[in-house]
Symmetry: C2
Subunit: 66 residues, 2 copies
């Protein structure tokens, strides 16, 4: 089951030009986004540790996204 | 200003091992996710058009993510 809020994703899709979107298309995108959150967060936690910190900072996220 | 709901993103980060996260780190990740939604949706709209459809389907999203 999706963890992210679905409606804001669908709204943003509509504003980006997808006037009609199948429900499972939105869910697929949400699933992808959740996977990216997990991948980026795991990297960022490792980067924070590497820098001797417990707290994940914006610089960790910036580096993890690259 | 962020369009996605912030709290579910933060919750998912915490469950992925980021016990302490700076607020601007969460916001940076949300900003990245919003950018990905726009990029993927734009591609998916083009793919739906290419297939002679107005409605964006899951197959368009699958292809756009790749």
């Amino acid at each position: 089951m999706a963890r992210l809020a679905i409606a804001p994703v669908r709204d943003l899709m509509k504003e980006t030009g997808a006037k009609l979107v199948a429900k499972d298309a939105v869910m697929k995108l949400v699933e992808y986004l959740e996977g990216r959150i997990e991948e980026i967060t795991s990297k960022a936690v490792g980067l924070a540790k590497h820098a001797g910190r417990k707290k994940v900072m914006m610089s960790d996220i910036n580096l993890a996204i690259k």
